[in-house]
Symmetry: C2
Subunit: 170 residues, 2 copies
DNA sequence: TGAAATTACTTTAAGCTTAAAATAATTGTC
DNA sequence: GACAATTATTTTAAGCTTAAAGTAATTTCA
């Protein structure tokens, strides 16, 4: 590569041109490839078998775990998407009769959404098949490997969150 | 978490339900969460620091590795996105003067795209910073852990590809 | 109390993404 | 050489996604 100019804050410990972080970069690309591959396949199957989009399925999955429903804001946090995104998704699911919206009891700004009976039935049917797909896709991994991956990904997640937080508060 | 008890709906065919694949499902969710978290942060930083979108950065990254350029089809395959998607991205990058399009010598259907000098310069500058971000985000992982993750993700990828292929040919 | 700040949500504009259909050029087959 | 099949790309329609700005309700606190 090229020699690179050392930035002004040379008093910090990174005064030398940092070693290249090729290993981390390749790990990130592999992680991304893996996820993209699987996500694409799941999206395709949901569309082909159930005529549903992945974002709608994800939203329903969150609501299925919350029998009493939750606010759009909570949904947005759990899905890790923007508020406006959830507004639109909920709108379309409500149009389909799969989702119910009601005003929050103590806060007139908020509304609580939950699955309708039909929505719950539809989701449960899809979820069962979906679980089989996932089992199939990860089928070559043994129980021990799954456990290892879980642990390493947990560590990765907390590493990423740490980087996010540190930047946020600096 | 819940302990695998099947809630509600006990009257449905829950009794003959095959072994649950909860471990695989949780692994998939964790993989997705991890990737989404990191991808979102990278997108945010690219936008804030360089005013570029992640898809455009990804496209440029592919072209940077191919000094002689490549066809849109090849780009689409490598990026794992649809052809139409690449058409639009390339269009916008060409408008910005970062990308050059020329007819393929032997095939009048195809066009070969490559980075302009400006595009290459812009990408290299972004890539250096990007690599530092990734190193920071994965900073809590040791070399051994990175190696382990690489291996397990390679296995996961091949497991997923196998599931895709088998379905495709059945 | 009441103004300021915060919170929950919606709207908007721009861009990303896909599947499917359409167009145009090339290749295979007889 | 015809002509069917394939390939490379573009177009279209629908939906997803975000950031930023806007609206309305709630909370904070002097």
């Amino acid at each position: 590569m090229d020699e690179g100019i050392i930035p002004l804050d040379a008093e910090t410990k990174v005064s030398e041109r940092p070693a290249d972080h090729e290993a981390e970069l390749r790990l990130w690309l592999r992680l991304l490839t893996c996820t993209t591959l699987i996500e694409g396949e799941v999206r395709r199957r949901l569309r082909d078998e159930f005529d549903v989009t992945l974002p709608r399925f994800d939203l329903m999955a969150q609501l299925d775990k919350a029998p009493n429903g939750m606010t759009l804001g909570e949904l947005s946090q759990r899905m890790m998407v923007s508020n406006g995104n959830v507004t639109g998704l909920a709108e379309r699911l409500a149009e389909q009769g799969l989702l119910d919206r009601r005003a929050a009891p103590n806060d007139r700004r908020a509304q609580i959404v939950s699955l309708t009976a039909e929505g719950r039935r539809a989701f449960r049917a899809m979820a069962r098949t979906h679980e089989d797909w996932i089992a199939e896709i990860f089928g070559s991994l043994g129980a021990g490997e799954i456990e290892q991956l879980m642990a390493l990904l947990a560590k990765t997640k907390s590493s990423a969150r740490k980087a996010l937080t540190e930047r946020q508060t600096s």
